[in-house]
Symmetry: C2
Subunit: 209 residues, 2 copies
């Protein structure tokens, strides 16, 4: 059942980039340069093939960017859900929320070109491509709403905050780090702690009189 023939020859040709290779490169270029300035010829050149060859793997440019967007959400969704469900069953609410924030930020800043590309170019792609990405997005948003609702019900969160709005504020704030955070000058790890501190406790000096 393990190996069938001789050694481990699984790649079809010598140096085939393949669909996944093209997609990886497209995600990286989209993250670095945005949607508008990345042409199929640029992607092809970075992949070491010619522009027309991309149409062997994809039917259109929209199909490429749609695949990148979907993968970007799936990565961060999986990452965030795993981080929360991996916690011991008796974990307190604050710790769970901190874990979710940390997972989102790490996917965005450390791990995945797909997730960062999604955040970066979502507002630049054609409407039809955005629409195609919406179901995947909604699933991730529902994951957050579920977590936040749970924390509100068990008394961890204030009762007077609207969950949907809180989620939009939180994810919006985290995603905005992409515009200025430089992973070489600080860890996403530490940054996530700062964000959690600010969102959970605020920035005001409390006087207990």
């Amino acid at each position: 059942m393990a190996q069938s023939t001789s050694s481990k020859v699984n790649e079809t040709s010598r140096s085939a980039v393949g669909r996944d290779g093209v997609l990886d490169i497209a995600a990286r270029l989209f993250r670095e340069q945005g949607y508008g300035s990345v042409s199929l010829r640029k992607i092809a050149e970075a992949a070491g093939i010619k522009a027309g060859s991309i149409y062997y793997h994809f039917g259109s440019k929209d199909e490429i960017v749609a695949a990148v967007l979907d993968a970007g959400i799936q990565v961060v969704h999986e990452s965030m859900r795993d981080a929360v469900t991996a916690l011991p069953a008796d974990t307190d609410g604050e710790t769970a929320l901190r874990a979710a924030i940390r997972a989102h930020l790490r996917a965005l800043l450390d791990v995945s070109d797909y997730t960062s590309a999604n955040v970066r170019i979502f507002g630049q792609v054609p409407q039809s491509v955005r629409d195609a990405n919406l179901p995947t997005r909604r699933a991730y948003e529902a994951e957050w709403d579920s977590l936040l609702s749970r924390l509100q019900e068990d008394g961890t969160l204030k009762q007077d905050v609207d969950i949907r709005r809180l989620r939009l504020m939180l994810i919006g704030a985290l995603n905005a780090t992409l515009d200025w955070f430089d992973p070489d000058r600080g860890s996403a790890e530490a940054l996530s702690r700062t964000y959690a501190d600010v969102f959970l406790n605020g920035i005001l000096e409390k006087q207990d009189t």
Copy 2:
């Protein structure tokens, strides 16, 4: 000194759009559609003139978008500074910070196509255009840093938060509202209160035991 000749004939021709008219329309289109999908021909058509005519007012597309970007920062900068300096001299720190947040959010969501266009397209324009906008940006950032530093010195803010990072988090979070907030379904006014509440006091339910 008031009126010189007859009535109020100040416009040169019947229906001249003029430099400012073109700029207004460009800002609106950039805010609505992003940088990449707004061509000079689109701007011209919306302005009721032909594409080539734009070159009477501007030397290049870059010059247009640079003008939009600069104006966008200037509007929000002035708006925020005025909101803070208009307060009575003995105003407490928290109120000042809330006023600054409110002014930024209103410029972004209610008042100015230029400010919203800036936030929307800054990450999409050519590097040279971004660089040209940097000095104006830095001046606005300095205004915030000055306010936040003052609040930290007088004990309003916690001592252990880095001012620069706090400013990046705050403005980033506010700017992110552009992606989801619909002014028809809620006031920027009320939204700014929510943001101030979250940032100042956090979202955690405090128990005083």
